[in-house]
Amino acid sequence: MVYIQTYIEILILTLLLIPFIKMKWKGIVTVSAVILNAIIIGYIALPALMGEKLEFILSGTIITSEIPIRIDALSGWFMLLINFTVITGALYGLQYMKAYQKQTTNISLHCLAFLLMQTSLMAICIIQNSLVFLFAWEIMTLSCFILIIFEYQKQATLKAGITFLIQSHVGVLFLTLGFIWVNYRTGSYDFEAIHQFSTTFPPVVSLGVFFAFFIGFAIKAGFVPFHTWLPYAHPASPSHISAVMSGVIIKIGIFGILRMLQLIQTDYVVLGYLILVFSVISGIYGVMLAIIQHNLKKLLAYHSIENIGIIGIGIGLGTLGIGQENSNLVFFGFGGALLHVLNHSLFKSLLFFGAGNLYQATHTMNIEHFGGLVKRMPQTTILFLIASLAICGLPPFNGFVSEFLIYSGLFQGMKNIAMLNIMTLLFSVFGLVLIGGLALLCFTKAFGSIFLGNARKDFNDTPTESKMGKLLPMYMAAAGIVSIGLFPKFFLSLLLEPIKLYADKMKFMEDISPSIQISDTLQYIGYCAIEFIVLVAFILYIRKWVTNKKPKPIQATWGCGYVGETKKMQYSASSFIRSYRKLAEPLLSIEKHKIDIEGVFPSLGKHETHPHDKIEIWLLEKPWKRMRHFFIRFQFLQNGNAQFYVLYGTVFIALIIGFPILFDAIKKIIYFLNQI
């Protein structure tokens, strides 16, 4: 309680201070407030993660009634991981924003919004009163909106911001629907009421409630087909905001889903299957579209959708485990999902930071324009490489650990040989493998064409390595990635309490043997990772030892005897994925413009591809066009004449008053007719 008071005091003080201090100090004050608040939250969250549930009730107001604050292990885990990315994001932003120093008021607003975003995220994790929860949710959405439209002068940014705002509010609509449903039946705003509601009503009803919440939270998390805001919002916002958004804000949607899973008692088997199918589709669709993107940040945004899919597979598996009373599945599924939430927040923020470095060095995000940056920005290259390997789920980094847990769970789950079960799990394995392979294709493309080979375009200023201020938060994230990869057992042991929240839902609680077995396996993985690094070091050492005194002439790249300029001849990102594009073309929507080279003295040839999102076209654009077509007929009503609007008002009031009278009159007439 004291901690929360201090938190709020610091927050209010900083919020009041920021508009009035000098430009130089704005960023530093914000970052120190963020770090200070994160430390305070750490004091609350850490014991909660260890299993000490903190619970107290604020008196609230007449409208909200009592506000219960409950901090359990799940909140603790999310609060800690959110704060880590928020801190690295703030540190990175401190340097990143120096380029925009002249826009004083804009920066002030940005700082305020950043602090509010951190606070609202924390509030969402701990508040268990629906009304106040929605209030905090709304603050988060609005502060994110302000953060996204930092470069509001650009039209694309503004459009992306508004798309985000509208879609987020569609999400709020579904959440409100769920909360009202529960409140109508139980008369309480407390989250406990959701649990009571689901136990008193049949599973089908609670499944309905769950899906209202699921859609609401899935819009924030970016599950296909609710993902359409994501690929616009991420490229539009400044890089540290993209990092925080992709790293943690979409995860708050996952938090919501997990919270509802914990509260709502329903038919878990059906729910598990549904979540699994949803997630596999999200994962494959996300990565399939990621590959064909030309904008680096958009590519990363689609990868977020893919990773949400992987997290979803874990959640679905765990849910299936609760339904089938299989503690193995619960441990593997929720363990994998929760760990992947952390992992993704680490490597995705690192990738976005890397994209930020690239953007500030070259002022472009088009992958086709880069090339050969490894020599100009060696540190960014290594950090980007680590993150790329991690996001592909390759050992010895963290992505492998969580994907391994989910794989193990899927194979364990196959022991139950009910036909539906086995086919769904097979489908999930297939999906997960395909996701892994496609991610590898995608990141070899991104990394290869950005950092390797020759520069494809001459930039006005030669790109240079970023300053230490920007690299430091990147190293922090990279340290997280490597340490989870090398010591997975420790991180899984942190997850035992959050997983127990779900394991307790099983009617016949088995012994905790799976947790021991899993941590043994993870220990092996940690050993293997270390062993692998030692092996690589050993081979490199031998290589150095053997080749030390040998001649090593430097020559041109092999080009069948051609040794001239090869800048334009090297493989580009589009040509790298050409065979994939040909293969996947029926499933995707790619707009192509092509001018073939013809004749003996050919003129300029051209080949352009513009990837589109098929789901967006079918779900949003086309219905939207139809709707506009329909509503345009009523345009004559909007004639801009004030008198007409008064008339509409009068007609409306007359209708409202007149309708019940008319109803009564009709009733009387019918009564009269019946009498005859």
């Binding site: 490199l540 080749t547 002439p553 293969l583």
Partner: protein, 301 residues
């Protein structure tokens, strides 16, 4: 430990047998079976030429590629003897560590900024991605069949009972051979002997590697063949005594090598465009195995 030693020993002559078989079928005498290994050793002794476009990525990539193969080999058991590393779900680790090697060999190729090597890299990335589901579903079926999820436990508890299980064994061997051919960029998908850069897959990726690095890559290919051969051999070694097991192991490896040689002599490479479909068909073979397992377990009756 035994499995590692055996695989390394096999890798010394595996490629030699393949080349010898190809020579004999084309009516030549051919080099001795240790010739490929002698070539590798000669490369190890040589200096190397590096492209001026390349960076440190190009320097470390072959070593990491080689290390990934060694790491994958450590996981594979031999009959009743565990691999050096063995844990539940180790075949996931096996596949992913190989993918790591592939990642590095791809970015190593892209590092040269060549107009050819990206082509090979692109094809390799796509083909290995398509081959991966086949392997996972294959291992998943055996995990389902035996109820275990590590190589060692799967192979030790695998026993052939009914006719269907023999059919499954043959299918699995076929899928594994095909995966081995794809992963090593051999005949039906890639022709290692082609002299045109445009038709190469793996060879074009390593055009700029020379000296020690090239030696590592070539030896890596040999080891990879021995590794897949060992996987296949594990289907048959079962619970025999150690001497017979070693004998079976060697016989299977030699047969595998001869088969690769014959396959390469009498088949032509597919058109590049058809490779993707062909590789994806392997997944349906794997699914067939999966259904076979369900049949044995009495789910379809």
């Amino acid at each position: 430990m035994l499995s590692l030693v055996l695989m390394v020993v096999t890798s010394l002559f595996f490629m030699g047998i393949v080349i010898r078989t190809k020579s004999i079928t084309s009516g030549r005498k051919g080099p001795g079976i240790f010739q490929p290994m002698k070539d590798v050793i000669r490369l190890w002794k040589k200096g190397a030429v590096f492209s001026r476009t390349t960076s440190f990525i190009f320097q470390i990539a072959p070593s990491i590629y080689f290390a990934s193969i060694i790491m994958a080999i450590l996981v594979i058991p031999f009959g009743q003897y565990k691999g050096i590393v063995s844990f539940d779900g180790d075949f996931v680790f096996f596949a992913y560590v190989l993918a790591l090697g592939k990642f590095f060999s791809i970015i190593g190729a892209l590092d040269t900024g060549s107009s050819f090597e990206g082509m090979g890299a692109s094809r390799e990335a796509l083909y290995s991605m398509l081959a991966e589901p086949a392997f996972f579903i294959l291992m998943g079926s055996f995990a389902l069949y035996t109820g275990h999820t590590s190589f060692y436990e799967i192979f030790t508890s695998l026993h052939f009972g009914s006719y269907i299980s023999y059919a499954l064994g043959i299918l699995a061997t076929f899928v594994l051979i095909m995966i081995a051919m794809i992963e090593n960029s051999r005949m039906p998908v890639d022709d290692p002997k082609t002299h045109l850069e445009l038709t190469m897959v793996h060879e074009v990726m390593i055009l700029d590697n020379s000296g020690f690095d090239l030696g590592l890559i070539l030896f890596g290919t040999n080891l990879k063949f021995a590794m897949y051969g060992a996987l296949i051999a594990n289907f048959f070694t079962g619970s025999f005594s150690i001497l017979i097991s070693i004998l079976i192991f060697l016989v299977v490896q030699i047969l595998f090598a001869i088969m690769v040689g014959i396959l390469e002599s009498f088949s032509a490479r597919f058109r590049m465009g058809n490779n993707a479909q062909f590789i994806f068909t392997l997944t349906s073979f794997s699914i067939l195995i999966f259904f076979g397992v369900l049949l044995i377990m009495g789910k379809f009756v």
